[in-house]
Amino acid sequence: MSIPLSLVLKQLEGSPSSVVPLLSTLYYDKSILNNISKSDSKHLVSRILNLTRSPIEYNKWAGTNLIRVISDNYTILATEGSNLFGELVKNLDSYNDTVNIKVLTSTVEALNYLCDKIRGKPTMTREILTPKLSTIITLYMDKLHFSPLIIIKSLKKLIQFHPTTFRPFGNKLRAKLITFLHLQDFVNFPEPLKSAIYQTLASLPAIEKTEPELKWESDVKSLIKELKSVLAIYNEFLNLGDDSSLPRLFEQLPSFEENQKNDKILPDMVIDVNEPSSVFQISTRVDILLNLLNAYVTYATQFSVKVPLGLVLVVNEIICSINVRYISYKNDVRDEQIRKIVKSTTVLNSLNSIKFLKDLAFTYKGSMLPHLGNILSLLEVLVPFKNKKIDYDELIIQEVLNRELLSCVSVYLSLVSFLSDHTQLLRFVDVGLLLVEPRITDSTAQQNNNNHNSNGGKKHKKNKNTTAIPLSDILSHQHLFNEAIPEATVNIVRQFMSAVITTVTLPPTQHYKIMRYILIQAVHSRYYNNEHLIPRELRSLLINAVLYPGYEKISLLPIVSTILGDDPLLSVFNNPRFPPLPIYVKNVKDESVFEEEEEEEEEHEQEEKEIELPEQKRAIDEDELPEAKKRKMEDEPQVIQQEQIEQVVEDKIFTKVNPETVVHFAPTKEVEPESRTIQNQKPETVPEPVPVAPVQQMSQNINGDEDESDFEMPEIDVDDSDEE
């Protein structure tokens, strides 16, 4: 749908009823703005500017968005850019909380868009962007609290592209963001906002005038020191000495010097044992500091930095090692509530640490592998274990943690293509299998029953009437009480299985368990899908099961082929083929001609059987002679079908077959499709010289006269590929 310009102009005169069609017209129909006359362009821009100046919110909003669309046109941007910019900045300046928030976000978006458009074009940057930039930054910081996410993201971008202009504002922004971190409910901020704040803080060192990498490094170091001081508080609750390695790990981390206490980002912590919820401050802090550290070491820097990867890993090791399953409470911590809270803070810490480790793997890839054994054993400790068995209840209660755990392990596994030792992975495989087992709430129902039974008789009677109703359902319709396994868990477990079976050969028990799960799930989901489709994760899992068969070498392929009949990769598996050989490409002739001549060839073949053989012998004799000489000798022209000789020569050399037998079979249907596939598949990579090949071949053996022309052919090849 395209609206003519006159109509657009008319609509913009007053308050447009809906701006969306105008936006899409102006964007998609580029010809409108490209062919616009000067007066029309003036009209358009002035009307749009009028809209943005209007006190009516809708008009303001509409005008702002129109600015974003028309700024795609270079001419308008060049001539009116500074006006557009000015108007947007004015709007931003006058924004207050009585105005609809959408006006603000649109204004910020439009400003960012204009900046993106102008950035990199030297003259425009000089004339339009640079003079306004500091105003924009000031305004962004002023209005930050209205719509923090979008504005912080914009500021982050400005830091990245204009570090010098940003320099005077750096400290102010940092202070502002840190006050956010100090807020009590900061941990409950939406995730995107939190990560935007962390990343912005992490990119601030870029504005440093000299050696930003040193500032970055000292920031990271002080974060690590602060984390250490927070983690040390656990010493008040737990006997950290139980784990012999923990004190050693603590020692490895640097601590604050006396004069550096001010470098701390968070204020001192106050924990009152009489107010148990204050203990949660520990995990809150670890959360903030760890995520901030994460942002520092994973968010892109424009300069090279020294990443203390070893220290970062030690921090994570400490966090994961502080685990109440292996470390006892101090004797004076008797309050059950406190104990529970301490435990849940450690779980929260581990969760954050696992996420961090996962992000590290994405960014640092191979550099993490020297630590792989350590990391895996670190993660292994987090698997809930009880009496040498995985504690199922605990596993389900901490499902999120265990899910992340598997996800993290699979990321690390995917960095490795081959592991010969599977012992470190078996626990994770068991966790994965348990997580996707059908869950029955039946145990809780049983407990309820028990409770009732233990109650006194009177009470029991009374309750029976009220509780019997839901209970009856459990007995009669048990299947409805199967708790659904969250989709996220299912997906993560499948990815994990994929990672495991592609890197290690599991022992048969685990292997069969996984295969069983995969196949049952595949059949199941295929049945319940109208088109018999299989979800993506499961599909790739099935294919991996075929590609990496482990012990199972026979039965899996047919099953998977039945389930995934339409998969292109499996088709290659079931119809194995060799890569097409370049040498077998035959004559230059068109395919249609080729077919016609096939019969002729066969006739020729019979006749020329005798001629070929002497030719062969001679060629052997002449082996030692230099090529040039030999060509001279082979002057007598012979009318021999080229394909046949080529065929014979090949066979002769490689398979020690008597040439007599060779000649009996015709140059054959098998060969011919081969040549076609090549011609079809790689028309560009195998250009003209390929069909020429046999001719050339012949010329060496038979006809020396053609030599000169042959030498020129390869040069055609060169020209061709130049044009590509």
């Binding site: 990443v307 077959v657 081969e674 010289p689 040069e715």
Partner: protein, 525 residues
């Protein structure tokens, strides 16, 4: 896009400071020279180029010196000279492994190319038979392994980085798991963890292993190793099952090997100047079915090739003009006697490489000549500027045109371009010392890159939110919302609204009248 051939020679032993040596990167398809590196010479397999184009590096082991020269693409002279614990004879690089499974599922698993890409590991073999492994981003020496009894002739990583394969003059070939080599921070017991054995030690050869090549499969189970040796054999191994698949016996000692990218054939360079194609499939003459050659530990004698159907001859020809040229190049160093000596020496095909599409073979010989030949016709299609000494490394890589032709390197200052100094002491067990030096790459998918359609649909939503769909006049609602406290204020506002509307009415009336008045006046006139 263009394909670039990089080649480097061993350097003249008389030329102590390598003044005459150079390495070049030249296009296969046209006459353009992409890059040149001065004073570059390396023992066979002793130079490695991380790729062609801006931001890539060339690492060269100086011959007989415990020194590594590092060049940046686009700069002629070395950027860095890094002292080593021992002179290295061969080098290998490997890229970081990728998080292959997750590129589909995780937003943050792909990264943009930073201004300089730093490969993951650098491995080197030495004359004493040791293998060294450094991590390039930290410079840590992760491993020193006494792997061989004699000079290590070649080291190579598998493409996925899982295995490191080394061949040596002691006729052995060892396959190491990279993870074993680099697991320095794991475990507590020094002795047991550092004294691991090779994943596979191949002792089938009787003479020096001169070259080896690994295929690049997508599934690790298909990983194959092709080794060539002076004992005239080409052997193919399946690494995962540790089995010898096929042995090919040729008539001459083999100096170099390269495999077709699609695994259709292997090309070997012989010590008599011939290059021989060894097809891995052919048509069975009895059944006329395409069958694979070898496998199952077969030993196949590659018979002589009287029709030259599988042989490239061009290196055998000692073109006198060519010889003259080289002798002119270093008149001072080579006297005539040397020339005649050279003429009697057989020509070795020292290095082979294959182009992207598998149709061109690039070969270098012991006279320093480098040719590109068409695989199908076995004719030379291009001759490169010769070097003064045996070719020691040839690499082919492709890159976009704009990346290959670097005008200036000013984009990144030197401090951030250099790789960290490689350590000469083995990294300790202390994990805290592990410190990387790199530019953290940015994620390739930028969240702010919203396409127009998404933006427009968001705006449509916002547009709707502005509209009043309830059918009730919203302004009435607003009045109701005002609290009793501001009642008087509200009253005043109402009054003001009334007055202003009355005023505007009045004004419009006035204008109307004025118009009419002027009309009347005009008419009268």
């Amino acid at each position: 896009m263009d394909e670039s051939v990089f080649y480097i020679a061993e350097g003249d032993p008389n030329d102590k400071h390598s003044q005459e040596s150079f390495a070049l990167a030249t296009s296969i398809h046209n006459s353009q020279q992409h890059a040149s590196f001065r004073q570059a010479d390396a023992p066979k397999n002793g130079a490695i180029l991380s790729g062609s184009g801006q931001g890539e590096r060339l690492i060269v082991a100086a011959p007989n010196k415990a020194l590594l020269n590092v060049y940046s693409w686009g700069k002629e002279s070395p950027d860095q000279r890094i002292p080593l614990p021992e002179a290295l004879t061969c080098l290998a690089l490997v890229e970081h492994p990728n998080t292959r499974l997750f590129s589909e599922f995780h937003r943050n698993s792909e990264f943009k190319l930073p201004s300089y890409r730093v490969p993951w590991l650098l491995a080197g073999g030495s004359k004493s038979g040791k293998i060294y492994v450094w991590e390039l981003s930290s410079g840590s020496l992760l491993c020193v392994k006494e792997a061989h009894y004699q000079n290590v002739t070649v080291v190579k990583f598998s493409k996925c980085g899982t295995f490191l394969v080394a061949g040596s003059d002691d006729a052995r070939c060892t396959v190491w798991k990279t993870l074993d080599l680099i697991a320095v921070f794991d475990g507590d017991n020094d002795e047991s963890s550092r004294n691991f054995k090779p994943y596979l030690a191949i002792t089938d050869n009787t003479l020096a292993v001169t070259d080896l090549v690994l295929n690049e499969p997508g599934v690790i189970n298909d990983l194959k190793l092709y080794t060539v040796s002076r004992d005239n054999t080409l052997r193919i191994y399946d690494i995962i099952t540790k089995q010898l698949l096929t042995t090919f016996i040729l008539s001459e000692a083999i100096e170099s090997v390269v495999a077709d990218p699609a695994g259709r054939a292997v090309y070997v360079g012989l010590s008599n100047g011939l290059i021989r194609t060894i097809p891995l499939y052919n048509i069975n003459p009895n059944t006329s079915v395409l069958e694979s050659i070898g496998g199952n530990q077969k030993i196949i004698t590659v018979e002589s090739d009287p029709n030259l159907k599988f042989t490239f001859l061009h290196h055998q020809q000692r073109i006198s003009a060519d010889a003259n040229k080289t002798s002119i190049l270093h008149k001072n160093l080579n006297n005539k006697k040397n020339d005649t000596e050279n003429a009697n020496k057989p020509i070795h095909v020292t290095k082979l490489a294959i182009s992207l599409d598998g149709t061109n073979l690039i070969s270098g010989d012991s006279l320093g000549r480098v040719y590109v030949s068409d695989i199908v016709t076995r004719q030379v299609v291009k001759t490169f500027t010769p070097c003064n000494s045996p070719i020691s490394q040839i690499q082919v890589s492709s890159a976009p045109f704009e990346a290959l032709n670097v005008s200036s390197n000013s984009k990144v200052d030197k401090k951030h371009r250099l790789i960290p100094q490689l350590k000469r002491v083995l990294t300790g067990r202390d994990a805290t010392e592990h410190q990387l030096n790199l530019e953290i790459p940015s994620e390739s998918r930028d969240e702010s890159d919203e396409n127009f359609a998404v933006w427009l649909s968001r705006k449509t939503q916002e547009d709707l939110e502005f509209k009043n769909l309830s059918g009730v006049n919203s302004s009435v609602k607003k009045v109701a919302n005002i609290t009793s406290d501001s009642e008087s204020k509200k009253e005043l506002e109402d009054k003001l609204a009334k007055l202003s509307s009355a005023y505007t009415q009045l004004r419009s009336k006035h204008e109307e009248l004025l118009k009419e008045h002027s009309k009347v006046l005009n008419n009268k006139a």
